[in-house]
């Protein structure tokens, strides 16, 4: 039940874009540097996020990426699902997908997988990039106080 680097890096990158949300595009190079990620690999992830409509890109010199909308309208769930697919713990329980298992209708374990899936979706869909920014500010304010 681990997230792959796609989801992990994707959330980091999107959070970086959210912190730098200003109307100006942000280059992959700078995101990669700040977040300590491979630029070439990030490129692949951004392609996924762009196809999902979560980011816009600006090509050419001084180009880069920016959130397609404000941080409070983008959830962690949308980010992860666009990069990793459904959060369903088992394939037979992927949203809006038929299962080929003929026992599905009376399958008890299936009910368990559905509950896990729903609870994961509920958390990730409830956290927006703005929430992360708020957490970030709180965390760093506390850090500043602590360090005097």
């Amino acid at each position: 039940m681990k997230l792959s680097t796609r989801g992990r890096y994707g959330v980091k990158a999107m959070f970086d874009l959210a912190l730098n949300f200003s109307g100006e595009p942000v280059s992959l190079k700078s995101i990669a540097e700040r977040q300590g990620l491979s630029e070439a690999y990030l490129e692949q992830l951004m392609a996924g996020l762009r196809k999902a409509g979560l980011v816009k890109s600006v090509r050419g010199a001084q180009g880069g990426y920016m959130l397609s909308t404000s941080p409070d309208k983008i959830t962690v769930g949308e980010i992860i699902r666009s990069l990793e697919g459904s959060m369903a713990p088992v394939d037979c329980v992927i949203e809006n997908e038929e299962t080929d298992c003929e026992k599905a209708e009376y399958c008890v374990t299936r009910l368990v997988w559905e509950r896990i899936r729903d609870s994961i979706n509920q958390v990730v869909d409830s956290i927006t990039l703005q929430d992360m920014i708020d957490d970030y500010k709180r965390l760093h304010q506390r850090k500043a106080e602590k360090e005097g």
Copy 2:
């Protein structure tokens, strides 16, 4: 974020043991047949469940496995964690384990992973094998009514 076959088969096998909870041991062969799983592979899983104290084994002819305690005292969470390890979506957030990430204390994404982990744990720890048996009975009663 998929469960591996270890967790999936493990829950199935434990549910099978719960349905057959009587004091008599149940052979791997019969579990494998009923659940449509490989006997040799199941053996590995049972070793894990035994080490975790969730099942007891009886060796020799007419031997087999049985739940170590009643179905209402065994949760899906215990089963999955004993076979797959922590449900943490990211290593830096495994319960009772130090992370080597020095930024951890002020890491925002970490807060997200913790919330996902907690919510998964909450669901799986709230579902006992007895709950699954109850669901099973409900499901099959409804099936019987439907089929007349």
